[in-house]
Structure formats: structure tokens, C-alpha cells
Symmetry: D2
Subunit: 360 residues, 4 copies
């Protein structure tokens, strides 16, 4: 089988580099096109990231020599890629317009950007939770008069550590109606240069601009439904998030208290639900899907970011410390790799799902 040709928009940034890295040797996709801001355009990819390649492995050979294009010039991509990953770091309105332009040009867009997360006909997907939200794509295409192109987004990197385990309980029939959670987030989440070292050596920062709002609202769309060709948020759950930056390179941790409105599962039942949880990516055996989406660690002091973030290609969510909550019903600690599961890896899993659903 010939691999699909893939473009990466914003290919020189941190998330873009992760796309380039994770797509090396992908069984279905190959990077054939890289684009970035105007000032990077016209250089070879290897030159454009010289001195700021932050990945643990080298630049893939097949990408080193690709000429970087100006991401604003959509026509450059036409004919050169079957779809694109968007990791552009620009003004949201500009990103929205550009992503639409790519879609209009017949190029599906799998986006990591927050620009289109609240567009009413754009699905925000975590493949283990709401793969059925891809059903809106025909509506979206029709709304815009697009033939082949469309836009799919993924949510913010902070959600992955707690939403999948909570969704597993909901899916098993337990109605979660409230959550209070505190995140301890890695510095890589802020990109590069991102957080200044003077702010994080011997320190934590109890604030990340916009992060709490995303952590509280995006789950409502993901847990919501399509009605009249639009997404309608879930109204059955309230979330309060406290987001902190900590001196950790990769891996977002969340301390989560959860309350149920109806019957409450015993702790053993929760463990069973998590252990047995499988979803569409596992059924379809998608190449980037973790074998077991939720891994429960029985040790008292786990999960820990440096030790557990890489579980199952950094795509699994590691969970620990399940116990009764004195105020709500249960509490636990969740962890996921923010730049893999929470960013480029999650985007690739979305693309694999779309491919299997014959959208690509």
C-alpha cells in the first residue's frame, strides 16, 4: 500500500517537531510537505530547526531535506499532501481562516490548535471517547460547500490525564456530575522558549493563562452530542480546575476528586472498569493506539511523570492512588504525556481514526 502523503503546518515549532518525529516509520502516513511562518520558508527543514530541534531522536532523514514552505500559501500544499496536521502558533482568527482555506482547497485538516475548538460544526475528538462525533463531517462539508476537505481538532493537552478515566466510569453507567481537580503541568506544554528558568527552578507557578477555562469547558463538548447539525454541550457535569506549572520536562499530572449523582461504584468496581476499558482505537487496532488505554499502577506513590509518562509509546494514561474522597466520592491521580498523547500523538490517532472511517 502506498502511504498517504502528509503535510505538517507549523512544522518548526515544538508540536510540529513532535509530528515530524512521531510520523517517522508510520505504517500509513509519510511526511511529504512541511510549512511554517514566512521567515522559515525557503530553507531546508534541517536548517530551519538548527539549534532548536528539541526531540530526543535526530531529524528523520526523509524530512531533513524538505524545503519549508510558507504556511500562508495554501496552493503550495495542493497536490503534495493528502491531508495536513496543523500546529500553527498564530493569532486564532488567522489560524481559523487558514485551516478553512486548506479545507476549501480539498485538504483535510487534523488540528492541534485551539482555534476551531468551539466552532459549532467542528468535532473535538479523543478517539477513545467520542469517535462518533466524526459523524458531523458531512454536515460541516455541506455548510461550507467543501468537497473533500474538512477540519477536525483535538482538545487541550491538560485533559488527557483525567477525562478518559472519568469517561470510562460514565460509559459503565455511573453518572459523574462534579469534579474538582488540580494539575501539575510540564514546562514543555508552554512551547519553546516558553517558561523562563528563573520562574521554575526551586519554584512552581500556580497559574497558566487560559488553561483552567479549557480544562473545565472542553470536556463538556467532548461529552456532548450532535443536535440539529451542531454540537450541544453536556450539561450533566461541572468541573473546577486549578492549573499549575511545575519543574518537569514532559508529563501532566492531575489530582482528581469525583462525585456521582446516582449510584456510586465500589473502588474494586472502578479498578475493574479501568482495567477492562477498551474503545474504538483498540478495536480497530490503530497503529498509535495504546493496547490498554488506562494503566492502573498499584504502588502508593505512582504515577510519576518521569517514570510513567512513556507508558505504551507515551499514549496510555497512567492512573494511581484510587481512594475514597472525604467530600465527593472517589479520588485518584492521573498522568499523561502532554506532547505525545496530549498533542502530536493524539493528533495522529485522530488521523488514523479518520482514515479507518474512510474520511482521508
Amino acid at each position: 500500500m502506498a502511504k498517504l502523503k502528509v503535510g505538517v503546518l507549523g512544522a518548526t515549532g515544538m508540536v510540529g517537531q513532535n509530528y515530524v518525529r512521531l510520523l517517522e516509520n508510520h505504517p500509513w502516513f509519510e511526511v511529504s510537505f512541511v510549512a511554517a511562518s514566512e521567515k522559515s520558508a525557503g530553507k531546508k527543514y534541517a536548517d530551519s530547526v538548527a539549534g532548536r530541534w528539541h526531540m530526543p531522536t535526530g531529524i528523520p532523514n526523509a524530512v531533513q531535506g524538505l524545503m519549508v514552505e510558507d504556511a500562508n500559501k495554501v496552493d503550495k500544499a495542493v497536490g503534495r499532501c493528502d491531508f495536513v496536521f496543523s500546529a500553527m502558533e498564530m493569532d486564532k482568527q488567522v489560524v481559523r481562516d487558514l485551516e478553512n482555506e486548506y479545507a476549501a482547497a480539498g485538504i483535510p485538516v487534523l488540528s492541534n490548535s485551539s482555534a476551531h475548538r468551539w466552532t459549532e460544526d467542528v468535532p473535538m475528538i479523543i478517539p477513545e471517547i467520542n469517535p462518533q462525533h466524526l459523524d458531523i463531517i458531512p454536515v460541516q462539508k455541506k455548510n461550507h460547500g467543501w468537497k473533500k476537505g474538512f477540519v477536525v481538532v483535538k482538545p487541550n493537552c491538560s485533559l488527557q490525564s483525567y477525562l478518559t478515566p472519568v469517561y470510562a466510569l460514565i460509559k459503565a453507567g455511573y453518572d459523574v456530575d462534579r469534579m474538582i481537580l488540580t494539575t501539575l503541568q510540564a514546562v514543555s506544554g508552554a512551547g519553546y522558549p516558553g517558561v523562563a528558568s528563573l520562574d521554575i527552578v526551586d519554584n512552581i507557578i500556580p497559574y497558566i493563562g487560559g488553561e483552567e477555562e479549557k480544562s473545565e469547558k472542553e470536556p463538556l463538548k467532548i461529552l456532548g452530542r450532535i443536535e440539529g447539525g451542531k454540537f450541544v454541550n453536556s450539561d450533566s457535569i461541572r468541573i473546577s480546575a486549578h492549573c499549575n506549572r511545575v519543574p518537569v520536562v514532559d508529563g501532566h499530572t492531575a489530582c482528581v476528586s469525583v462525585g456521582f449523582s446516582g449510584r456510586k461504584p465500589a473502588l474494586e468496581e472502578v479498578l475493574r472498569i479501568w482495567r477492562e476499558f477498551r474503545a474504538l482505537p483498540q478495536e480497530l487496532d490503530l497503529p498509535s493506539a495504546p493496547k490498554q488505554p488506562i494503566i492502573y499502577l498499584p504502588e502508593a506513590n505512582r504515577p510519576q511523570p518521569r517514570k510513567d509518562r512513556d507508558a505504551d509509546k507515551a499514549m496510555a494514561v497512567s492512573i494511581g492512588r484510587l481512594r475514597q474522597c472525604n467530600v465527593f466520592d472517589i479520588r485518584f491521580v492521573g498522568l499523561s504525556h502532554n506532547t505525545v498523547r496530549g498533542a502530536a500523538g493524539g493528533g495522529i490517532l485522530n488521523a488514523e481514526l479518520a482514515y479507518k472511517k474512510k474520511l482521508l
Copy 2:
């Protein structure tokens, strides 16, 4: 005025060193006696801490040459100190028995240990919150037949960052009935050698043995009352605590969500209450008391441990990020210095209070 002569039990450990450091130049007290485990006994203090003095300033001259005594030999202290600070790190039953022995020998004990925190006639004091709990001392003395000695303890270091601001609201007439909080605690809280660097570089640990239980239960005694010569816990509040270790040297941070059972204060009202909060230590102008017990920082990203832990001699609680909570009523971030306000400094403030109340 001649200064009171003070002994420090456990003087060579981290908390003991902080007592020695903070009592240098104290206007009322002077260290005249240091005791530790049997194996340190017989050495000069300076020699016994050589290579493991962790304070930012040098060993006070007046203490360097003191001979370290065996803390198990209570008679060594008799006649040499008017009272002692206890920072012994031993089996709890042993500490309890030893603290009783000192009290029986006529030497009041101001303890940092958790040994006596749940003894029914021992008060657990935060001077800004429950100074009236010292009223149990005559009962305690009578129970044991002690003439001059008694035991007073302070709570765990994790409480100071959130309990004083919450108490200020209670005192102002708002009934707090539930709290969910997550702490990000400094490595100094684990003593020395304490946390291994392999567990904390590029990492956090989402577990501290026994800490969540202390954080949840000790406030109930502090907010409780004396009844029939015993302490009765407050039953009006439930607390759920998630405790984490982070790569910070000093300063415990807490992210706190708070719910009220009756009327709820507006955010401006909360700020006014905190700004105007003063208590007995401030009225008595105790030497170690912060001028303003609760300092609210208006910047969006404060308090931060490295930048704010030293506020007002490291004895003030720094607060920030007051905002509505989506699930409870309000939420905020609190910070206090764990080895000063949360340990030796808090113990000294207890002693100053006891002195003014003519118990020493």
C-alpha cells in the same frame, strides 16, 4: 529583663537547626541547652552538626560550643532550661513518654512532633486561630499531677497555607463546610536526607505518607472546642486533601476549593476579610508574629514558593488567585514557609503566646 533559658530537644535535626537559627537574637528567649540522640551526646554542638548544617546562616556563636546532651536523660535539662522545644524524630510512643517526662520534671514542652497531637488534653495551637485552647493547660496539669510542666503541640506543616485564610472567613461569620485541596510541598518537609534526588529531578511524587490524613483531621481539632476537659472536634467541616512532593526547597503551596453551608461572601468581601484579619499574636505584638497574617497578592501568577515564602520573616501566609469555584463557592492558592511558619517559627510563636499568658 533576663531572657528565659530554652532547651532544644532534637537540636541536630532539620527542625532543631531551625529552632537554633531562629532563636538567635530572640528578645525573650536564649538557647542554653541542646539535646539529641545518644550518639550525638557528648560532642560540641558545632561538631555534631558538622557537614550537615543546612541553615542559610552560620551556627550562632552562643550555641556552637554547647555540649550536646542525650535527650533521653531528662535530669540533664533540670535547672538548665525554663522550657524546651521538642523536635525529636523518634518512635511516637517514645516521644510521647519523653515529652511527658520533661513535663513531669517541671519543664514545659512546646512540641513540633506529631506524637501528642491527638492526646485529648494536649492543645494543638495555631496562635492566630485557637489561642483559647491553652485554657486546657490547668486541666492537663491536674490530670498528670504536674506542677509547672505541660505539653503544647503545633500541627503539621501542611496546614498553615490554607487553614488561617479559611479560619478568617469562619471568624467573619461564613460557615465553611467543605474543602477540597491539593498541596505542592517542598522537599525540606521530609527532613534530611529525606527525598532522594532521583525521585524529584524532572519529577513530582503524588504521595506523602500520612500527610493527607493529617491535613484532613488536624484542622478539626484546631477548629474544635474544649468540653468536659477534653477536646471535641469540629463536625461542621469536611476536608479532602491530595498531597504532592515537588522540586522546591522551601514553601508549601495549596490549591483550595471552599464551599459554604449558609450565606456566601462576595469575592470583594473575602479580600476585605483577609486584608483586615488580625488576631491575638498581632494584638499582643508577639516578636515572631507577622504584622499582617494573611497577605493577598493581586498578580495573576502568585503566590510562588521561591518568591513569596519569606514574606514577613517567613511567618505570613501569602494568598492569591481568589476566584469563583465552578463546583464549590470560592477557590484560591495559599503558600507558607514550611520549616519556619510550619515548624520552628510556629513553635516559637506558640512559646511567645504561652509566655504572654504567663504559662512560662
Copy 3:
């Protein structure tokens, strides 16, 4: 005595903030004028540094309300300050020209900038080493036709940890002719935002742009002499420096191997020389001078930045680990506080020296 009125140019940057902090309560000087870039001009100082005040203590009351001036408008300073500290972070040629303008306007300039370090009639001073280099000031004034103004600079922050102890040996008659040294430098040396956290968490950077050249060449001018109204570098010593950035907030450490061309001191002799070393700042009892410029720590594992950087108001150099070198003659570890001794504190000491020499 009325205090001298002092201006701080570049007052909103990291070094400028340190000047403002360290001059609070100075016995001779008081900050009466603050200037920065055009975009900060017109704001109150407190507002201009809001959210980026990095000092451990609050903004001094007397400075909070000062209006920030545009440092490019020299006439604003005339009549409002007796001299200025320059900590401007701009293009070197621009700084050079501006510092000259201030001097031409009758305002002496004590500079932290590297702009004038190699100007042939500008002295680069470490007060314990080459206070006599101030003798060039009359020549400098004459060269420019300046009446009252002049320019004095201090060297790079990396030198303080090793040059004073080496100079003490030279002063005692031992001819040091070669040094190989490796520095481990704190992130505060790069200013704010400076080093990205992704570059320094679980990492070190073995390169600091321009730092090795400064570390190798500036000592030659400091150890040089005035000849024919110009500075002539010392040609008796060669230095090779390896400069690294490490995850430390403040405090530059240097591992130093030293060779002598003639007779070699015994280790005990070196210790005696360091212990007894005093210089003009100590003789004049300058307010910011450390009582003992070089403090030798006998413990095997000292000096350490977090534990020793604050020695004697952060103005002393802490030394340890003196031992024979297998290749040269002796080796040792030196440490000094880079933003105090190595920057603002060093600049203030220069001003105190100039004042005592009646230049201000």
C-alpha cells in the same frame, strides 16, 4: 550628612532591580531617579515592574512612586542625581555613547555594562584588586573635556569567584602564570526571561555566548597597569575558561587549576594568605565591603551555591577544596553571588570607593 542622590539607568531590568533593592537603606546613597527604555518611560516605577519584579524583598517604598524617565534623555537626569549606575541592556555602541553623554553632562557613571570595558581610558575595577586604576580618571576627563563626569566600569560577573583569590596569591609575591578553569553559572546571569526552562531542567548547557572570552581577557586589564594615560594589559598570565550554565538560581561556581612561574606556596601558606587577605575596601570600611573578602570553608564538599552564595551580604567570595593539582600547582573551588557581588553589589562597592576617593 545628606545622602548623595543616585540615578539608576536600566532600572527595570534584573540588574537595575538589584541596584534598587540593594540601595534601600544605604548610608550614603539614595535612589532619586530611575530611567529605562522609552516604552517604560512615563509610568510609576512600581507599575513598570509589575509582574516582573524578581527580587526576594518588595519594591522599596521610596522608589515605588518615582516616575520612570527615558534613559535616552540625559537632560532629565541633570540636577536630579549626583551620579548614576548604568545597567542598560542595549546595543553596545548605543550604551557607550549614552554613558559618555551622561559624563559630558557632569554626571559620573558607574557602569555594569560591558560597553566601555575595553575603552582605553576607562578603568575596570574590582575594589579589592585594582583600586589604583581610578587614578586614570583625571586623564579620562581631560581626554573628553569633562569637568565632573567620568565613566568607571566593573568586569563580567563570572570573574569574581576566582580572580580575587588568585590576586591574593599574586599580591603575596607568588607569580601565577597560567590558569585553566571551568565555571558552573547560575541562570540569573542570563537575565529575564533568559534561559528557557526546557534547556535547563534535567540538563546543563556547556556554552554561554561571549562568556569565555570575557573570563579570559578581562583579568588581564584588571591585573594590568596605566602607561602613557592608557591601560596596558598584564602579559604574565594565560587563562583558559570553560563556561557552563547549570540549574542554579544564583551563584557562580568555578573549578580552578593554577600554575606558578617561580616559587610555589605550600597549601598552608595559601590558606594563610587567603585568611589574612584584606584590601582597600576593608581598610576604608566601605559599607558594602565584606569584612573578610575571601572565606575558606574547610568542609570537603563546599562551597555550594545555595548554601554559601549569601555569605557576608552576598559580597564575600567563598572558597574550598584547596589541594595540589596533578598538572599545575594548586586547584580550588570558588563561588560568588553573580547578581550581587558580580553585578549591582560590585557596582555599589565601586561607587563607595569613588566616593571615598572624593570623585563623587
Copy 4:
């Protein structure tokens, strides 16, 4: 081919865990025997390391269920392993005696311990440098009357970052006669719990007990020769080492100045020598050998431990910053992974070499 059965002595410690991890899926060897101290004996391996397994991947399935034996009982190993890796952390004399016992029992010992490094008939091997030192094995066997057993050791973990690149120059005919170097060593080098976090957060420690002596002397044996059945040290080179502990998890960095006694290579020549350097492990295509033993990174700020330590299975040495030295001739920065190349990985490479030389 049936795999050789391998024992790991000290299998529960940090180095032992690395052996277990790195031998998973080894093409020639399989772990069939694990031994540790008496108190671990009798437990399953998975249980004996529960809560202190520090590897980034899980415990290999094949090892989880192995019963841990008492390493002092040599007869337990007889018949169960073809050779052993020794990573025992005990008194040196005890280790020496035990390693001899295993050899006497017919079991070759590939040791990571420092116990036998200076035994006159025990070779200390870096396979790229002195594979010919294995020629002493027949002498060693004869000295002891051993039939099949023998002892081979590897050097200290600090040497790998600088000795191979320096050896490459010697091999190319340039006589290195002096080196001054400073290491910045990772905390994993101290084992677990090892360095206390209070000593390393916002800090460095300019001292590692015994490390400088090892760094200075062990190269002399490695570069030495066999004469009269004993090792004679090289006397052509003098080394001075400054060893520091820094807040890095894995990866030792060294800043190195090198002098030549005879002709001096141009910098381009040095780069060519390093680029082209290959040795016996590469010729034999040993499974753990890096394809290119020395990787030169042209970026100004490399190598960096977090970014470069894993180069080529963490077995390559990464080099950068080659430049002229002001005092000696050249200088550079070297980096290698201390727990892989510098410990278990290096030991495995020794075993692979011994296997190809038909000693196992």
C-alpha cells in the same frame, strides 16, 4: 543458537536493574539467575524491587518470577549461569573475595565494581581502547589455578566521556601528555537513594568522594601495557580532575583541556580522527556497540545531557565545542550516559567482546 545463561549479582540495586533491563531481548545472553544481599534472598525478583524499580521500562517478564538468591552463596550459581555480571555494593574486600570465589567455581565474572580494578592481573577494559588487555586472562587463570572462571572489570563511570576521544588522538599518533578536566556528573551515578534532594535542588556539589582519584588514575592502567604478567601503568600522561554533582538525572559531561608533547593536530584533523574512529567492537559488530563510537555535534551549545545522552542506544560518546585552548593545545566537551555506557551497558559490551574472543 542457544543463548548463554547469565547471572546478575547485586541485581536489585541501580546498576543491577540496568543489567536486567538492558539484557532483555539480548541476542546472545539471557538472565537466568539473580542474586543480592541476604535480606532480599528468597523473594521473587519483582517483589524484591517493588517500590524501588527505577528503570524507564517495566521489569522484563522473564526475570519477574526468578527467585533472588543470596549472592554470598556461590554454589547456588553453579550450573545455572555461564557467567555473571557483578554489581554488588559491599565492602571492597568482601566483593574481591566473592568475585574470586565465583571465578574459582568456574564462573567468569564481568564486574562493574571497583574492587578488582587495581588487582595486578585483572584487566580493566573499555572495548574501544584496550581489548588486547584480555590477553592477561590465561595468566590470571594460571595464577589462581582457575580452569574456566576469571575476572574482568570496567572502569569508573566518569571516564567514558573523555577517555575515548583522547585515546582516538593517541591512536592516531598524537602524544597527549596532560589533561585538566572538570566533570558535571548526574545524580544517578550515586545510586539510590544517593544524593539528597536538599543538596541538589537549586545547587551543585563540587565534590564526589573518591571520584577525582579514579578519574585521574584509572586511565593510566587502561592506557598501560602488560609486562611480566602484570599491568604497568602508562607514565606518559598526567591528569587533573575536578568532579562535580549537578541536578541532572543521567549523563556525565566533561570540560576537557588537552596538551600534546610532540606535534599537535589541527582542529580539522582532530574532527577527522574522531569522525573516522572505529575500533574492535565496531569491527566485530558487537550487538551493544555504537555504530560510531564518537559523535561530534557541530552546534555551539552541545552536547547537553538530556538531549544527547541516549545517542546510539546510549552507548556513543557525544562531543562538541572543539576549540583551541589558551593554555594547553585543544579543548572540548564530552558526554556519555553514566548508567548505560558508563555502567551496565559497558559491562555488557565487555561480555560481548569476551564472548567473541571465546573466553565465555
